[in-house]
């Protein structure tokens, strides 16, 4: 009979062997001589087998004995994930590696804007979720000790003491193993190798027990199958709901469990290892679960009624007197439990120290800053060791609280449901850019609250939750009964909890994500996660100066250790190709440094520390938001500047145009003055010449004298007219003219104009008028209008070259205006002059009759002042002008009619 002392010795020996293996592997890796097999996908696959804990080793047989084939669902989930969702895992691994995350909490925190609040939440929830799981390992080891104790009558066995010492032992084991190295991302070669060894031990042990049962006891495969059919197991029926729920649950837990994340993502050496693991790991699961049913069936048959089926793997060989096999089996179970506890404690302690202890410590250091305080390395290591101790203690308390009586599988499932609450935030973060921090927090909170209420509290039982609440619901409200929420009864408790917690979790996650707006950093990280394959590495916006690089070096030495920090800085310097003592703090370098530090102390803390140095203070998401706001303001400011400069160039353009206009006006003024000079000098020349002739030539014939005097007189009149016109035009153009608006009859104005224009003509032209159409009431400056009419009629009289000149005056009404056309029967104005004639000093024919060429210009000015216009009407045969006048306002017209 193996004594307990012997058992303890074997355990210590086994642990020593594991240490030796781990030590060797670490040393070889450190020396860069790690053997090929150490880096092979096989090791990776075997390390994944920490999924199979004592629950698998002992619990699966118990599960099968209690519920038949349902135990398979625990292995179905991971198999489906490995085979059907390897691409999702690949993305997870790529994100984990490119962001150098240290844990699942770190990953979620990094994804949702480096939110430390989220990291703390996930850490706390993970610790709570894993606690039952760790207690499960304690329970299984304690139970296995108890089995041997029963067989060893010499020792007095005390359960509580055993559990306590098992806890202490495992804790020190985990501390020794997991916290030798600080850099969590430096791949714990030793641990992984030791775990791989343990994976082989537990597989060999279970296979050995299985083979012994099938061929040693039962006598072959056929007989074993018959015995299975004959046992209770054959009668179990498949419950679809439970199968689906537990398969899904185990799949979710496989992805979300912190220890699985540790080996699958953090310890991953090479992304391609996943491809091998995708078929090798399901194969491992198949092998390890192959003999579960035979052992359960034979155990049920051989062992006395009431013996614990969870321990059949041990008790069946013992009952057959197979001490050696039992010892191997014990070692297998021990391996399962220890490997799980080591990795889980490592993963959780990393999370606790990085996201809870370090940020608090950093804040306490406060003004002193990270670079001038004590050695961060020691703080981190100490924090991790304490964390492991606390986690193990929690597992111990859970065990004592729950009484340790539950089946292993049911305890494991409680953990699974709790851990699965991370799934929506994790998967959403990987595939949905719209997922926000608030959404993740909301989903996690809702999910965990429901898990605690519907699963954890009922499982802990009477001690914490009054039976009344369980039976009648919180506050006596029946729809709040923990195991029949919202009045849904008759569901299996697992299905019930999974259904409510995960569905409401996912709904809360999606709804809050849709309703909230991600911060800039979240959007940035979201893009990095979702599109990780497009840009596995990209600059994330640190900037620094050379002076700060020394501070960074000092800080890095404290965290990474002097040698490693110097090596890293040297590598970066070579990478940059610089010559100085330190690399330039380029954004790329700072980003790499952040990741390097993040591997030791977590992304958020590393971000904060670099922020402290580069940014001069702790960089929180709020700070970043402020920076983003500032950037937005700068953008806005630069937009405004752009607008301003556009406005300026617009103004410059306008000024240029104005200047051109002014130059043009100035040129026009010169031309005008030149024209005026010419128009004044010409009559003056005649006047001067003839007055000199008259003065000097006294004995000139009288007829000549008279003729020359008349010329002088006419030219003097011409000068007067010219001056009058110039003054008139000047007043009209300056707009200083005051219009004397009054109402009157158009025909009366026309009568006056015709009479005035033709008065004094020797041969007045014939004027054709239509009195009916002219009988219009108009409101205008009648004198000015008459001036225009007179000018046009006089022009016709002057220039019409027909033999019997005639002028036709037509009046018609158009759209809101009156048209008055003056058409003579002469040859008209040549087409190329038709626009020019309204300009000052423009004349069509050289043979003028004393006009200075201002008449039509004045007419145009007058008509425009009166709100109408004057234009040349082409195609009327003779010279024809059209005057348009606005129709007077109704009130005016009515008041005058």
């Amino acid at each position: 009979m193996a004594s307990l002392n012997m058992l303890a010795l074997v355990c210590l020996g086994y642990v020593a062997l594991l240490f030796f293996v781990a030590f060797l592997a670490d040393r070889r890796a450190a020396q860069g001589r790690s053997a090929a097999w150490m880096r092979s996908p096989l090791i990776y696959t075997l390390s994944l087998s920490i999924y199979c804990t004592a629950w698998t080793f002992y619990g699966a047989v118990g599960y099968a004995a209690r519920s038949g084939l349902e135990f398979l669902t625990i292995y179905l989930g991971p198999t489906l994930v490995m085979v059907g969702w390897w691409w999702g895992l690949r993305k997870l691994v790529r994100v984990g590696r490119s962001q150098r995350v240290t844990s699942i909490a770190d990953l979620l925190s990094a994804r949702y804007g480096k939110s430390n609040a989220l990291a703390i939440g996930v850490t706390i929830l993970a610790v709570i979720g894993i606690t039952p799981y760790i207690s499960l390992q304690l329970q299984s080891i304690t139970l296995s000790f108890a089995i041997f104790a029963e067989a060893d009558p010499l020792r007095s066995y005390h359960e509580t003491t055993t559990v306590f010492w098992v806890t202490v032992g495992l804790a020190s084991f985990a501390i020794l193993f997991g916290t030798r190295n600080l850099n969590a991302n430096e791949r714990h070669h030793g641990v992984v190798t030791a775990i791989a060894l343990e994976a082989i031990v537990k597989l060999v042990a279970l296979l050995a027990v299985g083979i012994f049962v099938v061929w040693g006891i039962s006598g072959g495969i056929g007989e074993t199958l018959q015995r299975i059919d004959a046992s209770r197991i054959g009668e179990w029926r498949v419950d679809g709901g439970r199968w689906t729920a537990i398969t899904f649950l185990s799949a979710a837990a496989f992805v979300c469990l912190p220890r699985m994340f540790q080996v699958m993502v953090v310890e991953n050496e090479d992304e391609r290892h996943l491809r091998v693991a995708a078929w090798a790991f399901p194969l491992y699961l198949l092998l390890i679960s192959m003999f579960v049913l035979p052992i359960a069936a034979i155990g049920l048959e051989l062992m006395p009624v009431g013996s614990n089926p969870d321990m059949f793997v041990l008790t069946v060989p013992l009952s057959q007197g197979q001490q050696g096999l039992a010892m191997l089996s014990f070692l297998g179970g021990f391996s399962s439990a220890t490997s799980m506890v080591i990795v889980a404690a490592m993963a959780l302690s990393t999370m606790v120290s990085n996201h809870m202890v370090m940020p608090i410590w950093l804040r306490l250091q406060g003004a002193a800053g990270a670079s001038v305080s004590g050695d961060v390395r020691n703080v981190v290591l100490f924090a991790r060791r304490i964390s492991i101790a606390v986690i193990m203690a929690l597992g111990y308390f859970y065990y004592t609280l729950s009484g340790g009586g539950a089946a292993l599988a049911s305890v494991g499932l409680i953990s699974f449901v709790g851990i699965s609450q991370m799934l929506p935030a994790l998967v959403g973060g990987l595939f949905w850019r719209g997922a926000t921090r608030s959404g993740a927090l909301a989903g996690l909170t809702v999910g965990y609250a429901l898990w605690v209420y519907t699963m954890l509290l009922p499982a802990l039982g009477g001690g914490l939750v009054p039976d009344q609440v369980l039976a009648e619901g919180l506050f006596g409200l029946s729809w709040l009964r923990p195991q029949a929420l919202f009045g849904i009864e008759g569901l299996d408790s697992i299905v019930h909890a999974v259904l409510w917690s995960l569905s409401l979790n996912a709904i809360a996650f999606c709804l809050v994500s849709l309703m909230t707006f991600p911060s800039p950093l979240e959007r940035l990280q979201g893009a990095q996660f979702v599109n990780v394959f497009e840009h596995s590495s990209g600059p994330r916006g640190w900037t620094g100066s050379v002076a700060q690089c020394e501070d960074l070096m000092v800080m890095s030495q404290r965290i990474l250790g002097a040698t490693e920090a110097q090596a890293f800085f040297q590598r970066e310097l070579e990478h940059q190709g610089g010559r100085g003592p330190l690399p330039d703090p380029t954004p790329m370098f700072l980003e790499r440094l952040e990741r390097e530090l993040g591997a030791s102390i977590g992304a958020a803390a590393a971000h904060a520390m670099i922020g402290q140095i580069v940014g001069g203070s702790s960089v929180s998401v709020q700070d970043l938001l402020a920076v983003a706001d500032e950037t937005a303001q700068m953008l806005e400011y630069s937009n405004k500047l752009e607008e301003k400069s556009e406005e300026l160039s617009r103004t410059a353009r306008q000024l240029r145009v104005t200047n051109e206009k002014l130059t043009q006006i100035s040129q026009q003024k010169d031309a005008f003055l030149s024209q005026v000079s010419h128009e004044l000098r010409t009559p003056m020349t005649s006047i001067r010449a003839f007055s000199e002739i008259l003065r000097d030539d006294a004995d000139m014939p009288l007829a000549d004298k008279n003729r020359y005097a008349t010329i002088i007189h006419d030219e003097a009149l011409r000068l007067t007219r010219l001056l009058n016109d110039l003054l008139d035009l000047s007043v009209l153009e300056s707009g200083q003219v005051s219009l004397n608006m009054s109402a009157g009859q158009l025909d009366e104005v026309m009568d006056h104009a015709v009479n005035t224009a033709l008065a004094g003509s020797e041969h007045p032209m014939k004027v054709n008028r239509t009195p009916d159409s002219e009988a219009l009431r108009i409101s205008s400056d009648l004198d000015r209008l008459a001036q225009v009419f007179i000018n046009l009629i006089a022009n016709a009289q002057k220039y019409c070259d027909a033999k019997s000149p005639e002028l036709t005056i037509r009046v018609s009404r158009g759209l809101g205006q009156i048209w008055i056309d003056f058409i003579d029967n002469g040859s008209g104005v040549p087409q190329d002059h038709q626009q020019l004639i309204f300009e000052k000093f423009s004349r069509v024919s050289p043979e003028r009759a004393g006009g200075a060429g201002l008449g039509l210009a004045i007419c145009r000015e007058i008509m425009q002042r009166l709100g109408g216009d004057i234009s040349y009407l082409a195609g009327q045969g003779g010279g024809s002008f059209r005057i348009s006048l606005p129709v007077e306002g109704k009130n005016l017209s009515q008041s005058h009619i």
């Binding site: 000098r681 010409t682 009559p683 005649s686 010449a689």
Partner: protein, 138 residues
């Protein structure tokens, strides 16, 4: 020496005044009021002197002088330009175009007569052949 003047002036009253002055001073005066065919008229008349207005219908006085100077045998023909646009710029342009003398309106009758006589005398000294031939018809 013949005294034949062609006057190109579109302003009838001014043309009449100059014609009266020069006729009284024993000049033969041909008056023409258009710039377009002024060169043809001058070539046909073959005068001793031309009085040319600057602002003319058809062609400006500057165009007329430029064409005139391009005709063989008329390069040295004295041309007195009259203008009512007495700006410095106009005078420079006129002199560059080949005008012999430039005079601004309004002018005194004596000035015109002096200018015409001076130009005529200068032309006679410079061109003795022409001065000789001038004696034959008179």
């Amino acid at each position: 020496m013949s005294r034949h003047v062609v006057l190109i002036e579109d302003e009838p009253n001014i043309a009449e005044a100059i014609r009266f002055l020069l006729t009284r001073d024993k000049w033969q005066v041909d008056v023409h009021g258009d710039g377009a065919d002024a060169v043809d008229v001058i070539r046909a008349a073959d005068p001793d002197l031309v009085i040319l207005d600057l602002m003319l219908p058809g062609k400006s006085g500057l165009e007329v002088i430029a064409e005139l100077r391009a005709v063989a045998g008329l390069q040295a023909l004295p041309v007195l330009m009259l203008t009512a646009r007495g700006q410095l710029k106009d005078r420079e342009m006129a002199e560059r175009a080949g005008v012999t003398r430039f005079m601004t309106k309004p002018f005194s009758n004596a000035e015109v007569l002096t200018a015409v006589r001076d130009l005529h005398a200068q032309a006679g000294q410079l061109d003795p052949a022409r001065a000789d031939s001038g004696q034959v018809p008179s």
